[in-house]
């Protein structure tokens, strides 16, 4: 079953076509990868998909419904949640509070519960905090519950960001270069985590530079260059595609740092 379908997506910055009539679709339960050299427009695709940018052309279809031009929060409400390439946590707040932010859309509290607590709202608070606790345990973060996230090491911050995404109870998790800045050990943990998430029933869409990671974890890959799709298929197919090899040749060495292209 097709969960997410992107058709003819086009995004233009000034005169530059960052994404050019790109189409792909993600099936439920997949781990889907988008790869491409620096400046290929991968993050732009994510930004269009999650409502941060408005595409010039094309549609984003989520479970058969056109969600193009929805605002980011609406898209998250529908079950698509993302992480950021440059980690964006609420850095002055602690781990538990960060994860709790994901519970906002699940919480049944009304605006007036901000003024007066009722037995209902107290139950709701407790339920959500307990869920946060559960997620912290799942992600091995319970020891850092009250630690401010700005004081955590980078790898932990990534985990908090993913935990925060999980807290929204999404169907599709969109990971923007989750391995960027991680060491080998942390990358391995990440790989296991991604598998674990899939086993829990989440669908995963990720952008990654780390070829090893991509080839190891993904089921299906779309390769993008200059905003256009040059190839798609399983990791084996992609790895042997001449266009992909050409796009990556000579660029490999310069590619390890994050892509700052369209920001």
């Amino acid at each position: 079953m097709e969960l997410l379908k992107i058709e003819n997506l086009t995004k233009i910055f000034g005169g530059l076509v960052a994404v050019d009539h790109l189409s792909f679709s993600v099936k439920k339960g997949q781990i889907y990868g988008i790869i491409g050299p620096n400046g290929a427009g991968k993050t732009t695709v994510f930004n269009c998909l999650t409502g941060i940018y408005k595409p010039e052309e094309g549609t984003v279809i989520w479970k058969g419904k056109d969600i193009t031009n929805y605002p980011p929060d609406k898209i998250a409400n529908l079950g698509i949640v993302r992480t950021f390439q440059t980690i964006r946590l609420f850095s002055d707040m602690c781990v538990a509070e960060n994860i709790m932010s994901g519970r906002n859309q699940i919480s049944k509290q009304h605006w007036y519960h901000g003024l007066i607590h009722t037995p209902f709202s107290k139950r709701d608070e407790k339920k959500n905090w307990l869920k946060v606790k559960e997620i912290m345990e799942l992600m091995n973060l319970q020891d850092y519950a009250t630690e401010l996230t700005k004081n955590l090491p980078y790898g932990h911050q990534r985990r908090v960001e993913i935990a925060r995404a999980l807290a929204t109870e999404p169907e599709l998790i969109v990971l923007d270069e989750p391995a960027a800045g991680l060491n080998g050990h942390e990358t391995l943990d990440l790989t296991n985590l991604i598998f674990k998430l899939r086993d829990m029933g989440f669908t995963i869409l990720l952008i990654e530079h780390d070829m090893n990671l991509v080839m190891n974890v993904t089921d299906y890959i779309t390769v993008v260059n200059f905003g256009e799709k040059i190839c798609e298929g399983t990791p084996e197919i992609v790895q042997n595609d001449p266009a992909v090899i050409e796009a990556y040749l000579g660029k490999e060495d310069a590619d390890d740092e994050g892509d700052e292209d369209e920001n």
């Binding site: 709790m100 906002n104 401010l148």
Partner: protein, 315 residues
């Protein structure tokens, strides 16, 4: 809430409770105004400190509360406490109407817009629209309220009325802090985009913060009208807005003790040093600079990382 924090609040409220015993009538008046200004500052903090919107026109809502209740009382002879629901409703509506088209503006632009609204408000009341606002003279002869047969005619009773309202507001803000709404304010202040991407409707919460701040400030405005029985435009001008803005930054954004201390320092301290007439505001300016250099996040910065105990138990 931690126990030590509760004790601190109890001490603070206890001091306010017995304060009238030790003060003469001029210090009682200052005490009453301190409480009223604290309420305004706390409401400014909801908008500026918690939701992070640079609102430099907050005295306008303080003024709306005072003016509407005064007009209702002097023109239509409605007891002033009955004005409170009307005042809250009207200022919430006005604030939402104002904020809808402007709320998406980035920090400093929003700051200018709110300054603009404050100045427009000033001009409206000074021009005596519909002959209701009394122009530059303001409104005289506001009647003090009575409730269940009790007359709030003495200054002391007005003090305790304000004190009672302060307690309610403090409880409400504590509730806010431990609710989904209150946390949403913090999230959108710290990183608006990240908040949106986890499904928080930041626009709604911004509007709500604005409306909430406006409503509370307008309640303080009613108290102000009750205390002075005379109101005039300059009590709600841009300088006052800047005062409330400064109180929050100096005290510590979204920190309740900080805001209360800020109100004390920015409002009561100059009263204590009245004898130094001409020098006091010079020294005051120097103090503002020094405070910011020494404690850039405010004197008592907000502490995060306070979460329910049951999350920590089996650690």
């Amino acid at each position: 809430m931690r126990k030590s924090a509760i004790y601190k609040y109890l001490v603070f409220l206890g001091i306010l409770l017995i304060y009238p015993l030790f003060s003469n009538s001029s210090w009682l008046a200052i005490g009453t105004t301190f409480i009223i200004y604290s309420i305004v500052a706390l409401s400014q903090d909801i908008v500026l400190g918690k939701a992070g919107m640079f609102d430099m026109g907050h005295a306008m809502f303080f003024g709306i509360g005072a003016y509407i209740s005064a007009i209702m009382n002097t023109v239509f002879n409605i007891p002033i406490l009955w004005a409170i629901p009307v005042v809250v409703l009207i200022s919430a509506i006005i604030s939402v109407l104002m904020a809808m088209p402007t709320i998406h503006l980035r920090g400093d632009y929003l700051l200018v817009v709110t300054i603009g609204f404050n100045i427009i408000f000033q001009q409206v009341i000074k021009n005596n629209v519909f002959g209701l606002t009394g122009g530059p003279n303001g409104i005289f002869g506001i009647e003090r309220p009575s409730l269940f047969g009790f007359e709030f005619s003495s200054d002391l009773s007005v003090y305790y009325l304000a004190f009672f309202v302060l307690i309610l507001i403090l409880i409400m803000i504590k509730n806010l802090e431990t609710s989904a709404v209150g946390r949403a304010f913090h999230y959108l202040r710290l990183d608006n985009l990240a908040a949106q991407c986890v499904g928080i409707n930041t626009r709604f919460y911004r509007l709500f913060a604005f409306a909430l701040g406006a409503s509370i400030a307008s309640i303080a405005g009613v108290l102000f009208a009750i205390q002075y029985t005379v109101i005039s435009p300059e009590s709600f001008n841009l300088m006052q807005s800047i005062l409330f803005f400064t109180i929050v930054i100096v005290g510590g954004m979204s920190s309740i003790p900080g805001v209360l201390l800020g109100t004390f320092l920015m409002f009561v301290l100059p009263e204590i040093f009245r004898d130094f007439n001409t020098y006091r505001y010079l020294v005051f300016g120097v103090m503002m600079i020094l405070t910011m250099i020494l404690r850039p996040r405010g004197i008592i910065p907000k502490k995060f990382g306070i979460i329910p105990k049951y999350l920590l138990k089996d650690k």
